[in-house]
């Protein structure tokens, strides 16, 4: 262990005095396993950025080193991160799909003199784990909070919350409940569902029995969303006028084709829709679709990765290719640019993105189901973040 630390320090020192030709960026993500689609989106975002901007910054060439972490596994994440720093000699770390993985890797950053750009993991507290963490995705608090305002604007007084029983689900529930009760609404019941629930009919019965006018739901993007939305329609809740409100994880683009007509009209709040109408997004979608192979597999982690690469390029520019994590992170604090998702900036206080959150409605356009943006909440910070 001591030798490893020593080696990493030596490496850090040597690379800050010598001129670096190739700057390695280590990317940790789920490239196989159940969440492989999201890992593929990381890759698509990175490759899209490289295709548009080239892989050189000044005299330096960027090289990406991938490490596969199929399921949330903090110990393995720390091991892979250390291996990237020590034996691959990466100057930047990026990726991290799940919160526990990012948390486990964060303590190594200062020792290794390496900044970490989180492409996805969405728990507010990650940025507090190390001053070298910068995040280009979103937090569940950030995407869930505006939904409370949406519900009140639509004249909804009573809501039941139904969330998957794990960290982000609990965050989402807390964010919505805080926003909704703060705006004078009433939460009639809060239910937490086990992660592996597959038959949602009993849940729908319970929602019906609660007498709520709307249900706020959080489920992680993936297979369970299909059963949930289907049960919502089949048990007559949609027809009965019980509105379904959710953060955009429920209707990520690759799942929309499977959700089909059942999802039409669903309201979700999120930071990015593949259908976002802007020249920046058109260019991004074109490049990322080419990178991933088929436009239908494109989802939100790709834009996190794309913007993450932009941030890393700015860090390399600012440090002239030298390994100096503190200077690199300092350089991007307050950085603002136009992302494919809209205008964004890095909050210097918590190194997290301030960005627009959009209210979207699932619609059918040109034979394709899309998340159509219908309302914008501008410059949203992270309401879930508390200074350490």
């Amino acid at each position: 262990m001591k030798k490893l630390v020593l080696a990493s320090l030596l490496l850090a020192l040597s690379s800050s005095v010598t001129f670096a030709d190739t700057i390695k960026v280590g990317v940790v993500g789920p490239f196989s396993g159940p969440a492989a689609l999201q890992g593929k989106n990381f890759q698509a975002g990175i490759n899209a950025w490289l295709a548009v901007n080239g892989n050189t910054i000044g005299d330096d060439t960027i090289e990406i080193v991938y490490r596969d972490l199929p399921a949330p596994d903090p110990a393995q994440s720390a091991a892979l991160t250390q291996e990237l720093i020590v034996s691959e000699g990466v100057q930047y770390l990026a990726g991290y799909y799940y919160t526990p993985d990012a948390m486990a890797a964060a303590p190594i950053l200062e020792e290794g003199n390496v900044p970490m750009v989180v492409f996805n993991a969405a728990t507010s507290a990650i940025v507090n784990a190390s001053p070298y963490v910068v995040r280009t995705s979103f937090t569940t608090w950030q995407t869930s909070t505006p939904m409370a305002a949406v519900a009140r604007q639509r004249g909804i007084d009573k809501v039941i919350t139904v969330v998957s029983d794990y960290g982000p689900g609990v965050d989402s529930e807390a964010a919505f409940v805080a926003g909704f009760t703060g705006a004078g609404g009433e939460i009639v019941e809060s239910v937490r569902m086990p992660m592996n629930t597959n038959d949602f009919s009993p849940m729908m019965q319970r929602i019906k029995d609660s007498g709520a006018e709307a249900v706020f739901a959080f489920l992680p993007a993936g297979p369970a969303t299909l059963g949930f939305v289907q049960a919502y329609v089949e048990n007559g809740l949609k027809d009965a006028g019980v509105t379904l409100l959710a953060p955009g994880d429920l209707t990520q683009e690759p799942d929309l084709a499977a959700l089909g007509d059942n999802a039409l009209g669903l309201l979700t709040t999120f930071h990015y829709a593949v259908s976002h109408d802007s020249p920046e997004n058109s260019a991004f979608v074109e490049a990322a679709s080419k990178a991933i192979g088929s436009a239908s597999e494109l989802s939100f982690p790709a834009v996190g990765a794309y913007d993450g690469m932009y941030v890393i390029s700015k860090m390399i520019e600012a440090t002239g290719g030298n390994q100096d994590a503190a200077a690199a992170v300092e350089a991007v604090k307050g950085l603002s640019w136009v992302s494919p998702r809209g205008p964004v900036s890095i909050n210097p206080e918590n190194r997290h993105l301030t960005q627009n959150i959009y209210l979207r409605e699932v619609a059918l356009e040109d034979g394709q189901y899309i998340n159509k943006e219908i309302q914008t909440f501008e410059n949203q910070g992270d309401p879930g973040w508390k200074a350490p």
Partner: protein
Amino acid sequence: MQTILSIAADALAYGMVLFIISIGLSVTMGLMKVVNLAHGAFAMIGGYIASYATQQMGLPFGVAILAAVLGTMLIAVPLERFLYRRIYGAPELTQVLMTIGITFAIIGIANFVMGPTLKTIALPAQLQGPVDLGFRTIAAHKLFAVAVGIIVAGALWFIIERTPFGVRLRASVDDAAMAGALGVKTKIVYAVSFALAVGLAALGGVVGAQLLPIEPYYALHYMVTFLVVVSVGGAGSIAGALVAALLLGAVQTTGRYLMPEYGEFFFYLAVIAIVCVFPNGLMGRSK
């Protein structure tokens, strides 16, 4: 009262789906004495074929079910000939290692060929809408699953208990050498019953796809549930599997309605209780 009826309807539908998928496994484990952990993978293949047939080729649902069952059997025949035949009568650990390996291979291939996204099976209009039961509405495809479950249970009982093939199958299971000496072609009997079990898996994958959506990790996600149904029911017993599936479906559905935060607690509590009282399963034959 309405709520109770409502939960009962959901429980029946969920239990029947469990039964249809698990009964094939019960046949392989109970009659052929093979711990086939790749059973879920075959259900998944069936689901993929039906999804491809309805979504990409636009075939009607009935044809898609047939294609799924026959297609999966076709894929299973060479597997039986070259892989499974080696593990008949082998120690359970060998069987588990072989079949879990097959499962991982199928997951990888499914991921590569069909992609990591969810696949759905297009239902005909008659099965899509809700049906009014008087006290509530229920999705038509759930009633369809219940009907299929009843037909499968009846047909299987008839085949195993009342046909010459069933006699040969039971004879081969009890004493393969003696059955062979009496002129039963045991290899063919095994191959046919393996194909039958795989076909049932595929049928279950298609009929259950509305509750257990088709994606590459299907093969692993639900394997524990299927194994539990078989061991609680007693391997090889059709009635046992039916009772176990309905009972466990009822426990899980009720638990999900009343106390969702307890998760699978009641499900496994019921399993432990039943296995304590009936170590061979509800209707399993003692060894």
